[in-house]
Subunit: 215 residues, 2 copies
């Protein structure tokens, strides 16, 4: 079968090759028929973590998506739990556009009844709360985690695991991870080893939705 060509957009500027390719590698390890090219937006080393940084990123994402479309990829993946520019790209482009946030929320909704969001922003991504609505039981940001970079620190990961335990205690049967930095550090695996709960990884959820196109 022909491989599915994916244009993957990272919304944090990554100059290091292995970090840049982290989501690409994660997806390739799970989906054998994917062919992926990754690009990251320019001049945003801290990524998207509030309205302002989101607004600055949107036109950069649209530009990358349009370039990918010209290169004839089959589908665009915007690898950010906030789905920045996803609606806009869907209107402007002629190929499917998948956002990690809507994919993660949607997959969560198909698995569980009581969903918790674990993210890096004070308010959870609107695209996710809009989808989860009354199935959203509780939303949490780990202590001292304010951007995707904080997840890479020992303390950040430890506090993210603590946050997962709190969501479980609040009665959540499913945790939707609301930052794709959690995919980079394989947080899903660590939570599932620690407690019995479904954990939805935003990058894998996006890959799952993309894989539908070839099923």
């Amino acid at each position: 079968m022909r491989k599915l060509k994916i244009g993957l957009i990272r919304v944090v500027t990554l100059l290091d090759g292995s970090l840049l390719k982290a989501h690409e590698d994660l997806l390739l390890s799970r989906f054998k028929n994917f062919e992926i090219e990754t690009q990251s937006i320019e001049n945003q080393p801290e990524g998207i973590h509030d309205e302002e940084t989101k607004n600055i990123a949107v036109p950069k994402i649209i530009k990358l998506a349009q370039e990918f479309e010209k290169k004839r990829v089959d589908v665009i993946l915007v690898s950010c739990a906030d789905d920045p520019a996803v609606e806009e790209c869907r209107s402007l482009l002629h190929i499917p556009v998948v956002g990690a946030g809507s994919a993660c929320a949607s997959v969560s909704l198909s698995i569980g009844n009581k969903i918790g969001i674990l993210g890096i922003t004070d308010k959870p991504p609107r695209v996710m709360t809009n989808i989860l609505k009354d199935k959203l039981v509780y939303s949490i940001k780990p202590e001292r985690v304010n951007s995707t970079l904080d997840l890479f620190k020992e303390e950040g990961k430890k506090n993210a695991l603590k946050a997962a335990i709190i969501l479980k205690e609040k009665g959540c049967d499913t945790i939707a991870l609301a930052c794709t930095g959690t995919s980079t550090i394989y947080l899903r695996e660590d939570i599932e080893k620690m407690i019995k709960v479904n954990v939805v990884d935003p990058v894998i959820a996006a890959g799952l939705i993309i894989s539908y196109l070839h099923l």
Copy 2:
């Protein structure tokens, strides 16, 4: 890798072996690591097509789901676009329960902006409209299709294709098929051959969500 054991519940009474196994076969053709046992509920040869037939089916579905759990399946699939008994089973059982309706709506929401529902009931399944909310552009029931059985008739399938064209004309970029009988007749393929639109098949969408559990 160990196969994922699925208890698949058909909500229409099917005595014919090949019809009974239609969704099982469709899933096995797409997901190589599935192992499926199918059971259909008793005494409902016309399936679920309104509130009354849904209410009668719910306790039968719960009973089958509990029997499957005792047999130690990994996950339950309720193969009906109305998600009958899915919430109840999620509360009662200790394993994940996936409904074809919520899975189909969720996958649609992750692919498109303007969703159309094509089903067999005057009102589309509530579980799907609840998920799609303002992304639902239009909902349609093909002429002279009033139960899943009508889809198997030449005229029923022809009218279903006409309905898909109307959804496209209404501006839908994605069609969510709101009856798992459409999966049995491979309606998705026929629509995609005919017009450029994303079509989400409820049984395959449910399989997709289930496959997440092993990714």
